[in-house]
Amino acid sequence: MKFIDSTNFVKLIKKLTAEGELYYPFLDEETGSYHLKRASGFPLEEDFELGGYRAVEPSKGVAQHARVTVAEYPSENPDEITNPDNIIPSVVLGAKGCDVNAMKMVDKVQVEGEFTDPLYKIRRDKMFVVAADCDDCKESCFCTLLGRKPWPEDGYDLAVSKISGGYLIEAGSERGEKVLAENGKLTSEAREQQIKARDEKRQKVLARLKENNSQFPDLTGMPEKLREAINDEIWKELAKDCVECGACTNICPTCYCFLLYDRKMDGDYFRRLSNWDSCQLTGYARMAGMLNPRASLVDRVKHRFYHKYDYLVSSHDDIFCTGCGRCIDACSASIDIRDVLARIEQKVTG
């Protein structure tokens, strides 16, 4: 474990971003919210804030752009678009525990299996993640209900914990270790006192999260319980409130759905684009002849819960919910996922 003071930390980040773009959180004093901001190369603004909790915006758009050209055809050189040399490296600074967990989950879908989404994989390979502890949490945060921690456990290159005068810094990958080794002069060995300070901070946030969520059940056992609630009235009740805006899926760091569509360009060539999509919208599953297996909003509302808390557990071995609470903050109908799951838990276990 190393310590790096604030001045040296900025030097380190400047080195890392010399040839890439930086995504970092800053605190909007007016609203009290953290937001994700993009900076390209120098001069690097120094308004980043690595304490606090997760930003309003998830960082999923760094690896999977909201809209991106995935192919142009016909072409003499079809693999040009997926040539890694054409893709700018990125540094994601200040990813919280839930943010890195989300990246690990989406990696399972986009990278693993017989096929790989090439642009996603290249952007992830060229991404350097500097994760950070939460030293605060939001009312909507509930990572602990899923057995997850408000600090990064793995899935990062470097992890920092903000302490007095600077940061504790630790490598979580070979790339991270290399960076620390090459920049030995910027860091010093962490003192026991400093590590103790970090641990105390962590326990404090953990305790607050537990207290904030004391009225909700543990959610790790939800998959089995949901299976028993497939025909429950609760889905109809939720559909009455839902306004079908798709905000919950857009803001969710683990929602990765996209739609491909083609566009005719000038001359005789065509562009294929990939666009974020939302299972909450009617057109999402509509087929030829206006057939639609989820024509009713009840089924679409239900689908969000089952996809994350049941289907993906079977197919990709994890509940695709980090507990970041962004969907709770974003919902115009004030649907609180914790509340829904708590009601199901109660109905099923009686």
Binding site: Y256, L260, R272, P293
Partner: protein, 272 residues
């Protein structure tokens, strides 16, 4: 890195009119495409978009591919306007394909409806390649009217292929000049020429037909693990990435499109 979203340049060499609304497109891709019966392709109509189709041709042939398409919307309308020589694109193959290994030594019942015989024709080619590997191959096929039956030119060959092969077509309502069976395809399942024990049934057709075929198969004694259905869902990527084509926990583009009914019977609105 290879780009799986780029469609392989493909030329339409020939177009066969099967029925007033169904055409078979004989395609020549720039490089051979190996596929298993039941695996599907994403076919690009340049500038308009892609749609998923299961090749209807012999899976032993990879230099050329035939796809049989019902005209039903944006992409398929545009495809039906094409003339030989036109350029299209292909991605794939995707999905699992039919469980051919399981069928070996068994009595196999194939039930098709309308354009649903297209994917099944690839299966029929694979089965008839060496019929002696199966105890029995019984094919039932229904369409509304005689003019709506696909691949009529091949029925006699199928029947004559071997003693353990049968083929029976039906039309929904009586028509002049038709002396075959009349009635929905499910009526061909009442008096089956296969013994159900140890047999497998594979069906493809409109979702509503699949539903009634499944109910009928269960009624005559098939168990859910013996039934395979070609499921239909909206698809985009074809590779398990875009999240779209699920039936319960399964992605049709990865685990299907032919699904064992036992795995999906509990899914709400499984027949859409």
């Amino acid at each position: 890195m290879e780009n799986p979203y780029y469609p392989i340049d493909t030329v339409v060499e020939d177009i066969i009119t099967e029925t007033p609304t169904i055409k078979t497109f004989c395609l020549k891709p720039a490089r051979p495409i190996d596929f298993k019966a039941g695996q599907f392709m994403q076919l690009t109509m340049p500038g308009i978009g892609e749609a998923p189709f299961t090749p209807s041709s012999d899976p032993n042939i990879s230099e050329k591919m035939e796809i049989t398409i019902l005209k039903t919307g944006k992409v398929t309308d545009a495809l039906h306007e094409l003339k030989p020589g036109a350029k299209v694109g292909l991605r794939g193959p995707f999905g699992e394909g039919y469980p051919l290994d399981k069928l070996e030594g068994r009595e196999v019942l194939v039930v098709g409806g309308g354009v649903g015989l297209a994917p099944l024709r690839a299966l029929i080619y694979a089965l008839l390649d060496d019929p002696s590997r199966y105890k029995k191959i019984s094919i039932k096929y229904g369409a509304r009217m005689p003019e709506e039956l696909c691949f009529k030119r091949q029925y006699q060959d199928w029947k004559n292929r071997a003693d353990n092969v049968s083929f029976q077509p039906t039309i929904d309502v009586p028509a002049e000049g038709w002396d075959g069976h009349v009635g929905l395809v499910t009526t061909l399942l009442d008096d089956l020429d296969v013994s159900i024990e140890g047999s497998y049934a594979l069906s493809c057709g409109p979702q509503i037909m699949l539903k009634f075929v499944t109910l009928k198969l269960l009624e005559v004694g098939y168990k859910p693990p013996q039934i395979y259905l070609s499921m239909n869902r909206k698809m985009s990527c074809g590779m398990g990435k875009c999240g779209r084509c699920n039936v319960g926990q399964y992605y049709l583009c990865v685990d299907g499109p032919d699904m064992c009914y036992d795995k999906i019977k509990h899914v709400p609105n499984v027949f859409g």
